[in-house]
Subunit: 226 residues, 8 copies
């Protein structure tokens, strides 16, 4: 394996990842200092590599913005985006992103914006939790028109099982930590989704909208295989 | 409080319970020796008190049967019943018992037979899990005709939330230990049901069909209040 | 199923819920922005639908109040109430709300105010934990006069078992997260209540006074079934 | 939704599932009596619907075989297969199934045989755990030639992260309960896989080779969407 | 510290323990081979040291008995006792042993027989669980006449809190693993007892009747201090 | 049972507790408002009942102090004390309070001050954790001179087992939540202490210095029984 | 990396491991069929590679022995050993293996025999748990004469902290699953050892005597580095 | 054992530790007041004992610095160091410290600075997580040149297994709490590392860079044995 790594001292940027895995470079912002983030995005900027950061705090964003980086920021999803001249090409197919309730929106928007950044078309179906079943049933035909479905829910995550039983597409489930009591910070929907009675469900980490988006895009890309 | 207790040495039969709580005496068989069970049911028999035992092993039943008690036994639910001349009166109203799948039947039958023993009318809706949503939707009008709904499910227990969102009746949820892996012996459906996004759900112990039946009957009995 | 949904973009209000489940619309405030809450309650206000919000922060309340909504707020239970011209009709029967100690009051008041909003009569029995058994025994005759009993307790939640053994009414148990150490944020009373040795107990989520109140009102409403 | 259900009393066969989700009917054998399984497979046989049962015990298989069903059985994976005249068509593309060690083979073969039953081509890469990294590296070019990768591992499941970092395909991870001590019956690899540092991983239940196979086939089928 | 140890190769008998801690030597039988147990009790027998073994299987007992040791055995508590000419002197004071139900008897008898072996007087109050509160109230005056109270219960262990609130004596709580579902093998009563709302409760390991007895006897012995 | 309760609306003061359990009234301050605490202590003050509050915040203390109550406050243990003319009588005997390290001091001082308030003599043995075994061995003779030993430790709590193996007195163990990582807020020392290999150990809740003190005093009081 | 792998179909023997990691090949027997084990050891035998299998059942051993392999077997540790003409050279230095009690012996012997197979000198210090502290103190000088110390204990594992505080050598801790109740199959000693207050402790999996031995030998081998 | 303890009232400094365990005195700063820390370091300073404090807050450091102690402070690792005239001698050999990502740096630097303080040579290999496998492979030859390897990682900690399979040195694994969701504050990497499929791994507490460094140095010191 050739080693295409840029060593920043505190980080080794994996410049080969896009070629190797088909997904552009992204940065997980928590646990990095403002100075570290600035150095990373300046490196991408200087190389004209469009990139994205997730869970970026307002303070981290302001620090980088103030030092001249060409960034956009979404305060609901905490996604920061560096816009360069390169452009990820569009992926064929689309991703449905479904949520159980309003509190799932930050995770859903992280998923949506990451998927769009990678090149997928995204259709949003928000607040269709099964407590009011007609909400999901009225949307199911539209959901079925997508190649991959991401289901994002807290509490008991029942939306996943209902949707997965009604569509042919693979369903990526994202448990959400919002909730209280015996949710135990998302343990309840995680266990529920892993135990879904419906086939065709696989699960990513609690609140991991980013991971669901990448998985959805990897799936869309299998069409590229001849 | 008056003390109406029959002391058998190893057990103090609570002969006042029916008067105090409205529910006839029942016996939880595990952890009792065959000889202890025999002594208990002989006491009830001699006093002509109809009673019921739950989770009674075939061996426990045979031991008592062979010693002349007038018992009937159901090998799926492991419910044993002592038939005496007294008759619990019928309760007004009915209970719907719904299950997600075939593996939930032993728990469902425990619930059904206990509820029937106490005097309730029971309607069974088995194997209507949400992976095939039309199964529950095709039954929902019939389910709605009951005063209380018991929902019994393993895995992620999504049936509970779907049903509770579609009926007006109180829903008693029973998590089931059948399953594997991250079910963790019923922890997953227990947490899921406790976190149900639908209102009107309360939960009893894993596999506790008995407890759900008693709660359903206590609910039916509120009609007796003035 | 007819689809009676009002789509606010971030939320789909389930306007059919009251007709379908018998319980008026309520709003869980955490995880919603102030602007989202304002939009939701303005919608209800414009339609003259009395409604209630739970766990509403002082900041959320002030924001809505300042923008002219006709709200009342209770700082102990964090319940906010929108008063309109419609009036939920009264329910026959009453609910006893019992607590183990003073720290359970916020949860108890959430339950009480939600139940009263739905139309139930509520009788409060606060600070009657079993460490001083005479406190509960001196009240038990009054508790027995209610159709449904809600028991709210932290620590080991023993109050539930004692009360459920002394009344005929169904008991809804609410574990409370207040406590420390091996309470593990309410896991201890949740497990204790789920394992109650007394019959007639079913359990809702930790701190879920709202859910207990809805379940109690669903139970009271079974009298409406002919 | 039209209701295509065959009611056997204890089970409602979901005859619409293949049309709705694209996956033929399968049967989870544990928790069903021998008589129930026989009735289910006889129904499929009489309708000439090829089908498959998972986790079928030798005793369950022998019982059905002895009563004349045209079944084959694999004692490692515990998969039983009913062969009828219908034939699931082949899916385009292939699935790589990788395992960390020999103890993962029963789960891997369940995945392989289910995927083959649905119509996928399967390539097996067994015993390539990362403790001997050259084992996985020597196979990575062959693994890359597949459209979907299933990674099955117990212990800490590190194989998943290594593989997912080296391929473009979506990776479905299956934690395995085999192990001892702090594996806690598969909890350790489940948590590890859910937390994988590599993108493009989603996870199914512990030991759920069946679920991984279905998800892989759902992914292959997106090529059918125009 | 002087070293009074008898080295048997596989075990170092702590012959100084009685002098140091005031409690005679006892043997925990599980995990020891029959031959090891025989060697240990023969050593005690040859030195005329009365001793006791807990959780001794029938097979272990028979093996030793057949080889001529002067043992008695109780098949409910699994306590084996070696009778020698030495006699532990009697302790002043008495211990009340209370249980919630019949399934707690094996643990209770382990506690009772160990306490009696050490020299305490034991009063048994079995099957007085709080679901029938009059059972414990009718006995409370007798319980109060003891110096130490041991409370043994499974399920939610509420008996402990009720008793501890009614007596002045220190209460030793023993959670019991008997139960099912969310008892999680005694985790539920362990957490409940540790969180008891009543003062004066301390807790030993699940099913540890032995440990409760030793603690009770250590407490009785403080009267020996001048 | 006579009902000696003072109803403050939000609380029912259990004025009979001292007579019934031998321990003066104490107040757990968290979860109570400043106004509630003031009302409670004013009631005690007006009746000249010396009392004590635990885990009292500086803000709660200042509020009460400023309104004229005769209180003293210890900022390490967060114990507040109301001094009245009544005086708890002295108990015969003494309590050793041992800690593993400096971080255990707040819990230890809560235990010490509560025990002293009830009337016990307390001897402190702080920072004698087993990592430096000579620290505990050099103190062991002094520790042995006490009637009861309280051992307070975080981390793995090994101090408890070492001490309990060297003394005759009953040992009350208090796990401490201070620590990090796999301490899981005191779960690790709680489990360790419950599993202590030494006899004569019983355990109270994490950080529950108060409970250990009460239990120690209940033990000392058995000398009062004739 | 060169690929020195022998592919047996179900397993890829890592023939390069000894060269790469310094530890001869070993085989974990559970989860492998008798036929698979036979094929593996026959391959080693034909290549004259001495090797060892752990947790080998009597049935697995007999099957291989009966088919002519030159094996020895230890029924306490379940270690099977293939003796060939090659001989692992001796390692300089020695390993002390300490246990808390008799029930730890199977794990201890697994560690001892694996370490001896790799070439280390082993000194055994069994049944020196801290409940009788003089047992460990009387041996501490002998323990100190070793280069590495392995401490094996169940229950609360306090032996580890006491020993690690008294020696200079690195201590490898092995939690043991033997025990009951709140041991939770070794979770309690695992957490305790990970939280040890003594420096110089690192931990391997529950019951993993093998892993401790390998780690000890890796440590001894650092003397080979120049 | 001679007792070399300096009693500061709240702490007993273990002045014999360096002689007994070979590691200089260090101080864990959390849970100690500023005044206590000042007293401890002034004692060391007056005796000219170089020492180190871990997890020292900026506020604690400033307080001591302002009162004249000759301290240096590192704000990433939170290590404070007291420089005196004594000098720990150098240890032969070196320690490799590897991390999976940037968020592991605070723990890694704690390990590095503690190891350097004790006298070891440290080589840093940061941000070489397995998601980009070439990062670790390109460094592996350099890593192999060290006597001990410390691997520090969050998420699923796969780096540990990959490295341990490629080196001969003992590997000390440190799970990191940084992460989110099902990391459960480091539980996931802790379990993963304890279950590592690679031999030669032992584990210390979550985030315990200090403990890993001490263990590495104890290992290096075995060369001092004859």
């Amino acid at each position: 394996m050739e080693n295409k790594t840029e060593d920043l001292g505190f980080a080794r940027l994996d410049l080969d990842r896009a070629a190797r895995t088909g997904i552009p470079e992204t940065v997980f912002c928590p646990g990095k200092t403002k100075e570290q983030l600035l150095a990373i995005f300046e490196k991408f900027s200087s190389r004209e590599i469009s990139s994205i950061g997730t869970r970026c705090s307002r303070e981290q964003y302001d620090f980088m913005k103030d030092r001249g980086l060409n960034l956009t920021y979404d305060s609901m999803s905490l996604v920061v985006r560096l816009r360069c001249r390169d452009n990820p090409r569009s992926l064929a197919g689309s991703v449905a992103i479904c949520t159980g309730g309003t509190a799932d929106m930050p995770v859903a928007e992280e998923a949506a914006q990451v998927a769009e950044f990678i090149g997928a078309r995204v259709n949003r179906f928000y607040d269709i939790g099964v407590a009011g079943l007609h909400r999901v049933l009225s949307q199911i035909d539209s959901i079925r028109r997508n190649d991959v479905v991401i289901c994002i829910a807290g509490m008991e995550g029942a939306l996943v099982s209902v949707v997965a039983g009604l569509v042919k597409a693979p369903v990526i489930a994202v448990p959400v930590s919002a909730g209280y009591g015996a949710s135990f910070s998302g343990l309840a929907p995680l266990l529920a989704m892993i135990n879904s009675c419906a086939e065709g469900v696989s699960v990513v980490n609690i609140d991991n909208g980013f991971g669901a988006a990448v998985q959805a895009c990897r799936i869309l890309k299998i069409r590229d295989n001849q």
